[in-house]
């Protein structure tokens, strides 16, 4: 279960450019995938980064399973990100100068020591999204859809229980969007929790049940 309770996030607090991105967001997620909808600047990405442990809220409570994420000290927050969260970024955030395999291996380096085991996990994740044939190709040479599959493989490689996606289909054509939705459906059926921030209408008619939350001006709309 994910419990978000009265979460606020203010950037540049106490300065002239102070900006309140989230204004008391509360909701609870049980097992359905969550689609966070809202226009640019509504606070979707901020909320995702708080749930994924990239940032801490200004105030409020975020609980992911048994973990009080909003209160975790840095050491534990790093461990949480490394072992329990898979994140798919809008612009993929891949390291362009290295191969697909190396990109996927990166998140595992702080966790495991055995490089052969790491490679086994990486190939398993690549196979899952159909990118294993590109393993030794430089990432900069991939197409948009392939880059996205590479980013998904990287998010899955640590067998995270929570998959967080920020505008995952913004740079994709229809075919790759449909592929992505199929992968999300598979992850959901495996029991993984998925949270997607998007304003892509393709997520309005999915084959599986999901919870749609609208976010506007840093607040969840009823």
């Amino acid at each position: 279960m994910i419990e978000i309770s009265q979460v606020y996030k203010t950037y540049n607090m106490g300065t002239e450019s102070e900006f309140e991105a989230l204004k008391g967001v509360s909701f609870t997620v049980r097992d359905k995938p969550v689609i966070l909808k809202g226009v640019s600047g509504s606070g979707k990405s901020t909320l995702l980064s708080l749930i994924a442990g990239f940032e801490k809220p200004t105030k409020g409570k975020i609980i992911v399973d048994d973990l009080l994420v909003s209160k975790l000290p840095d050491l534990h927050l790093s461990n949480y990100r490394a072992t329990r969260v898979g994140f798919v970024f809008q612009h993929f955030n891949l390291i362009e100068s290295i191969t697909v395999l190396d990109n996927i291996i990166v998140p595992l380096i702080p966790i495991y020591k055995d490089i052969e085991y790491i490679k086994t996990l990486a190939y398993r994740a690549m196979k899952r999204v159909g990118i294993e044939h590109k393993a030794h190709q430089d990432t900069k040479d991939l197409s948009g859809g392939e880059k996205q599959r590479c980013a998904i493989a990287r998010a899955l490689v640590n067998d995270a229980s929570l998959i967080v996606c920020d505008e995952p289909t913004a740079n994709l054509d229809k075919k790759n969007r449909d592929n992505f939705i199929d992968i999300i459906g598979d992850l959901h059926s495996e029991g993984k929790r998925v949270i997607i921030a998007t304003h892509d209408p393709v997520f309005e008619n999915l084959d599986f049940e999901c919870e749609i939350l609208n976010i506007k001006d840093g607040r969840i709309e009823e």
Partner: protein, 320 residues
């Protein structure tokens, strides 16, 4: 103003001490606000800020305390270097007794190293936990350590500003020789070495039996007995002279600075062992890592001390 203050070692020491104190003073101010406002169950902005701040403050304190530990070695080096300028002093022994503050500064410096180790260990436990369980405890302990270091800082200024380079001080042969009273507590070398061996065996035995209170007490007793054993027995083999009894001369280049190793292993090993025992007794820690390092240091100290005696015997066929 004392001319000693123009000495480069003294300037470096006092500046470093001031810098460390400044870092600790900043941390002290924030620690007070942490103690006053800390409420882990709260989810408001103030508490989130305190949690972020506490991590930064703890990091600053760790850095300052580690620097303080190294500064003790530099203090010892400084007083040894001053022996060239203080009339009658042959080594740090004379310089440290140049006025009433010297011994207090040295002893407080040694005690602050031990307190720093304990604080660093508690902090390490605190940051490894998910809910800052020792935040208040380590904050109160830090306040005590800060006040202790502040007093040591004031005393170190009083010490260096009151060294009179024209007034003749006693040299180590007077301080630690027959005139100075020799081995304390009415002991002779045989009794001293018997106690040295007994407490060393007691440390090993009580560690084996996992009786941590006994380890702690026997380690402290071993430290005291070892200090006198080095000064009155083992040291004479380092100097290869039965009448040369001094804890400071072995820090000089004539003896390859072996004193830093001898005292570093002894004090470092015993303090680390005591710290490890405090963690086991009061915080029920499972890790034996620091205990093993401490034991390695103490055993190395014993081997080094006995080694000098053995090497002398092998070379000369007699004991001093």
């Amino acid at each position: 103003m004392s001319s000693i203050l123009l000495n480069s070692e003294v300037i470096i020491y006092l500046l470093s001490q001031s810098l460390i104190l400044a870092l600790l003073a900043i941390s002290f101010i924030y620690t007070i606000s942490i103690i006053r406002k800390w409420d882990f169950d709260s989810f408001d902005t103030k508490q989130f800020k305190l949690e972020d701040m506490s991590y930064l403050v703890s990091t600053i304190i760790v850095i300052a305390l580690v620097l303080k530990i190294f500064l003790l070695f530099y203090f010892v080096h400084t007083i040894d270097a001053l022996s060239e300028f203080v009339a009658g002093a042959m080594c740090g022994a004379g310089v440290i007794k140049a006025n009433i503050y010297g011994n207090y500064v040295l002893v407080m410096g040694i005690v602050s190293v031990f307190l720093s180790l304990v604080w660093i260990s508690i902090n390490s436990l605190d940051i490894k936990a998910k809910n800052y369980p020792y935040m208040r405890l380590k904050s109160y302990l830090f306040i005590a350590i800060f006040l202790f270091i502040l007093i040591e800082y004031i005393l170190s200024w009083l010490y260096f500003t009151n060294i009179n380079t024209t007034q003749v001080v006693s040299c180590c042969s007077v301080i630690y020789g027959k005139v100075g009273g020799g081995v304390p507590f009415g002991l002779d070398n045989f009794k001293l070495l018997t106690l040295f061996a007994l407490f060393f065996i007691l440390i090993l035995l009580s560690l084996w039996l996992a009786n941590y209170v006994v380890v702690f007490i026997s380690a402290l007793a071993f430290l005291i007995v070892s200090y006198y054993s080095v000064v009155y027995f083992f040291g004479t083999y380092i100097y290869e002279l039965p009448t040369h009894k001094c804890p400071f001369c072995m820090l000089q280049h004539y003896y390859y600075y072996v004193g830093y190793l001898v005292w570093g292993l002894l004090f470092g090993g015993v303090f680390l062992l005591c710290d490890s025992m405090i963690m086991k007794i009061f915080f029920h820690t499972k890790s034996d890592k620091s205990q093993k390092i401490a034991l390695l240091m103490i055993v190395s100290f014993v081997i080094l001390s006995i080694g000098y005696v053995l090497v002398y015997y092998i070379k000369n066929g007699v004991l001093l």
